[in-house]
């Protein structure tokens, strides 16, 4: 039991550190990575909470969160690789064509 308590505290501290990087992080990739890290730590926290309450059968929920976190991160990164949700949406709107220049001026 004491082991789970210590592990929970460590995971919460890790969430705090990753959250600090997400808030402070100068570049976009820092924030993507910090979001992914917070998601992973949340999965660990869910598993630990299951053991803290004596109901580790909720572990499968943590597994599903892991899948979702992975898919969300892939979606975000793919989104920034292609700059659109789908290749054709870009063709429909002429303004999106030079979105890169807009972003550069804004950023």
């Amino acid at each position: 039991m004491i082991m789970f308590v210590v592990a929970t505290i460590a995971v919460i501290v890790a969430i705090v550190i990753a959250l600090a990087r997400a808030i402070l992080g100068p570049s976009l990739y820092d924030r993507v990575l910090a979001g992914n890290a917070v998601g992973t730590k949340t999965i660990l926290l869910l598993g630990l909470m299951g053991f803290l309450t004596g109901r580790p059968e909720f572990l499968d929920i943590a597994l599903l969160y892991a899948l979702m976190n992975f898919i969300a991160t892939i979606a975000i990164l793919k989104f920034f690789a292609y700059r659109t949700m789908s290749p054709q949406m870009r063709d429909m709107s002429p303004r999106l064509g030079n979105g890169n220049h807009d972003g550069g001026a804004d950023g």
């Binding site: 959250l19 998601g39 949340t42 969300a72």
Partner: protein, 233 residues
């Protein structure tokens, strides 16, 4: 009951470690939302809202609301992050500076509504109270009789699939119709399987805008200081 200290002590009588976990998660949620308020770069706000969704999903699991938590993780952290990113592509990358007078008015409205909501929760029965109305009449009947009547161990499944079977069928029909309408509006196969998918030419065409590493200034937040006051002058 209205005394916060006694409320906290009887909040989770059996499992006190979870109470501290909940306290930590709530603190992190407050920090995240304040950072979202103060941040002017919309991408950072989107990422923080994904983090917020994951943390609140963990909080829902700690409150034993597993199905709500799962919906929160799927919709909040998964879909709405991508939707917000695609919406951000249609607008600017930074939030516009706001007029302080409007912010003060909005703050007043928020404080009043939040105070009213907190005042309303003071009348609510304590968390996990067995005599609460939610646990007393119909809920208690479900708990007592569903195992006998439906002979299924999961009460949520018996309520959804048997007691409210027609209701669930109507919901499924509504969701199916909505999905069908969205597919018809967007066009079937326009995403990946259509004729005019131009992944490879796009990748080449992006070279004009700035090849590979040349995009970095865009993807960067501009290399400016992480201070949220950047656009808030």
């Amino acid at each position: 009951m209205n005394d916060p200290v006694s409320f906290a002590t009887e909040f989770h009588p059996s499992s006190s470690p979870i109470f501290f976990v909940e306290l930590a998660i709530l603190t992190l949620l407050v920090i995240t939302s304040i950072a979202m308020l103060r941040m002017r770069r919309l991408f950072g706000v989107v990422m923080l809202s994904g983090i917020y969704s994951f943390l609140s999903a963990a909080f829902f699991v700690a409150l034993d609301a597993v199905d709500v938590a799962f919906t929160e993780a799927a919709v909040g952290a998964g879909i709405s992050t991508v939707l917000m990113l695609s919406a951000m592509l249609l607008t600017a990358r930074r939030e516009k500076p706001y007029a302080p007078g409007h912010a003060a008015l909005a703050a007043v409205v928020c404080v009043i509504v939040g105070g009213a909501l907190i005042y309303a929760t003071l009348d609510a029965p304590p968390y996990g109270d067995a005599a609460a109305p939610a646990n007393s009449y119909v809920g208690q009947a479900y708990v007592e009789r569903s195992a006998v009547e439906i002979s299924m161990p999961n009460i949520v499944t018996t309520v959804l699939a048997s007691y409210r079977g027609f209701d669930t069928m109507g919901e499924v029909a509504v969701i199916f119709t909505a999905g069908l309408a969205v597919m018809l509006l967007l066009g079937i196969g326009s995403d990946r399987g259509g004729k005019d998918v131009r992944d490879v030419p796009r990748m080449v065409g992006r070279e004009e805008d700035g090849p590979g590493l040349g995009e970095k200034p865009t993807l960067d937040d501009g290399g400016k200081s992480p201070s949220p006051k950047g656009g808030a002058s």
